[in-house]
Amino acid sequence: MGVNPEISGRVYPPSPGYEVGREKIREFAEAINATGPADAVHRDPAAAQALGYPDVIAPPTLAVIIAQRSEAQLMLDPEAGIDFSRVVHGEQRFVHHRPIVAGDVLIATLHVDSVKTMGKNAMVTTRVEIADEKGEPVTTTTSTIVIRGAGEAA
């Protein structure tokens, strides 16, 4: 079974809130080795406040955690027909309307923007709109995955 083209345009229900903790930001920053002088804003609230942020801020790619949790709805949707073992990450983009700050409770809404078939492969572009509890936009992430067709080498 291939990817169902009819999922294009689908919007999934908003995720439960993801509460961004100071220690999660610190852990993620350390995991990407963002531990230099400019990275004090990830671990020291005073350093973040000195740059005008209310609390420690996330590295630019931490939003992928929230985005991928949301994208799991599509991967696990039997109607979508996506075989996760054949998925390759093609592109990723973040637009930050403001930095993610410790204490944020973020709600993610998954949109399937396009489904394209190219030979045996399919390309699916999804967009996750991440907003705070008041509904104010925080980050827009766009991801393109390639699903390799059956018969293709892994």
Binding site: E27, I32, A38, P60, Q92, R93
Partner: protein, 142 residues
């Protein structure tokens, strides 16, 4: 290093290359911190069974490395308001003391007077292969 400002940055300026090591430990830590436990990033047995040379780095780890490069240059990770990449080749990470290396460099390829932002185009290579394509960050400058 002093943080760049909008007025001191010019289109064509080069950001000097930095080499970042990627070891198995980095992938294990990234898996834990990000929640991406895909086995091809930590299990050689399964990685080679699906035709990969060995365990490979998470694409998002390579992207984060580029993000770190831009953040360090800007002096403020919160100034990186847009960042996008295409994943163009895999980064196999050998199970030894040195692992792999990702070399990142950058160039200022645009400036916007209205938003006071600079566009930074990144280049990232590992073992001679380009690992990020169309890697562009938009950075707000003071």
């Amino acid at each position: 290093m002093t943080a760049p400002t909008f007025d001191t940055v010019a289109v064509g300026d080069e950001l000097p290359a930095v080499s970042y090591p990627v070891r198995r430990l980095d992938l294990v830590r990234y898996a834990g911190a990000s929640g991406d436990f895909n086995v091809i990033h930590w299990n050689d047995r399964i990685a080679t069974a699906v035709g990969l040379p060995s365990v490979i780095a998470h694409g998002m780890f390579s992207m984060a490395t580029g993000g770190r490069f831009v953040s360090d240059w800007a002096g403020d990770p919160g100034a990186v308001i847009e960042y996008g990449v295409r994943f163009t080749s895999l980064v196999p990470v050998p199970d030894d003391e040195t692992g792999a290396t990702i070399e990142v460099s950058g160039k200022i390829t645009g400036k916007d007077d209205v938003t006071r932002t600079a566009k930074v185009t990144l280049t990232a290579h590992s073992a001679g292969q380009k690992v990020l394509g169309k890697a562009i960050a938009v950075v707000r400058l003071r």
